[in-house]
Symmetry: C2
Subunit: 333 residues, 2 copies
Amino acid sequence: MNTIRSQNRIAAVLVGVLAFTATIAHAADPLPSWNDGAAKKSIIAFVEKVTKRGSPDFVPAAERIATFDNDGTLWAEQPMYFQLFFALDRVKALAPQHPEWKDKEPFASILKGDVKVALAGGERALVEIFMATHAGMTTAEFQQIVKNWIATAKHPVTKRPFTEMVYQPMLELLTYLRANGFKTFIVSGGGIEFMRPWTEKVYGIPPEQVVGSSIKTKFEWRDGKPVLTRLPELNFIDDNVGKPVAINQHIGRRPIAAFGNSDGDLQMLQWTTADTGARFALIVHHTDAAREWAYDRQSSIGKLDKALDEARAKGWTVVDMKNDWKRIFVFEK
Amino acid sequence: MNTIRSQNRIAAVLVGVLAFTATIAHAADPLPSWNDGAAKKSIIAFVEKVTKRGSPDFVPAAERIATFDNDGTLWAEQPMYFQLFFALDRVKALAPQHPEWKDKEPFASILKGDVKVALAGGERALVEIFMATHAGMTTAEFQQIVKNWIATAKHPVTKRPFTEMVYQPMLELLTYLRANGFKTFIVSGGGIEFMRPWTEKVYGIPPEQVVGSSIKTKFEWRDGKPVLTRLPELNFIDDNVGKPVAINQHIGRRPIAAFGNSDGDLQMLQWTTADTGARFALIVHHTDAAREWAYDRQSSIGKLDKALDEARAKGWTVVDMKNDWKRIFVFEK
């Protein structure tokens, strides 16, 4: 072959390879666990319009920021936030070093197995539980504690590891968005350092794309090495009005898509959708008492009331778990 | 051609294309503005060992985090931090709305052009200047103010736009690291929202990879739209012991390479190099009074004293600007 013919052949082959790859990508359903319906259609329509070059809604890849709440949006949150199971397990594990806890609430009730009484102390009891179990060690030590717990702890109802109580349709959604150039972030009320040890493996979201609540840390020296010590002092609560603040602080640009399930996500959804250009907001509505849990306006965990009204008024996508999802948890066949 | 022959040909062509590309990449000097010397060699040796599969020092791409100080490391910082020029220009621009500033320090001296007297008020004067110019507007408004200023302001000595007073060798280093799978972050004492409007264009570093000092913001409603208002209240000082804290908070994993120029970067360099595995620390030493500035142990801006001693004791790379850099600023031919 002469050079020109050879070059033409290379070009033809490359074009053929690309066209073939595109055909495969188009043929496969990117969201197989989603029933065909309005929710699935709205997701695909949004992704297609913001990724189509020349479309008036086209968004450059660098600006395709998508933020996800975690509890109740990516994994379950009943009968209580999973991080609270972690905290209670830690109270039990640490009890031998704290003989005084036998006579001190909320610890005494936790050790007697009476969580309800322990939590009756409200926010103050919660803060005491969290500070006693989340502070006082280095960041590296805490990371290891979380890794050990998440690898072994089981959910009291399903008896499954907590990382298998992740929603399969949401995993598909994360993958679909990333395949379309989106950068996916978690923006959760949960502890930033409680999530980071496992989000990369479970969700494909690296630590630097995890935003959450935090306590303060301090740089100091221990045995000739620098460490960061976790202090029993709140730094930031990443919930409600805190979510847009944290998004601005950590990401520094406004998401074009946001995903939540409760009133704690409302401000994130408002912030995401208030700017010009194509925007997408989605709420996971827990409607399946048989396969998961059914709760919304009256629930103390994951209360969904104002955000549900606003979603309907503004035309945000509301996922009806019972009807929109073929499969709920990762562990289901 | 039959199918098998055709497939073989496709494979052969693709292998050829890849091999050719690899040859080009290998042949070009990734750091052309660096003189051949110990500093340049140490950078290339580090990058090659952490990216070589099978090497005992291999680091997976996801863990190739590199953090850069900004002032004095990526762009100049003399005769004073560039953000301070911005603040002083803002005082002048806002003066008509603040008739009381004529009789109130540090503003009165700034308006009379006597910056030295204004800054004689020390930290308290600085905080007053920063709060008066950096707070009181929405984040979107502040972003626009910074964009307008950075597009028009000129450095008093070189008369160049500040974004051209960026170090060409450091731009090449950023590009070289990214081409080798590194994720590059800024970790600066400068304002996070002062840097984000221009770092992507100038350094190729997106907003979500910029970490800096910050003031608090508040989510509220204005004219029926959600905004984040910048409050005159410090949130975080990202300097000295603050840098490892901020790295942990924003990135959530330890860098394997860090780059600074002053004692304010010392803890970041200590934190980066204290863990196991291949680690790299580099200090830009300002030694070129002719082409840039020469300063270190005695300087009030960018003081380099303890970190210089520690760099020598620990074998960190120290860049001698005068001898290691062929070209300093982007604007030089």
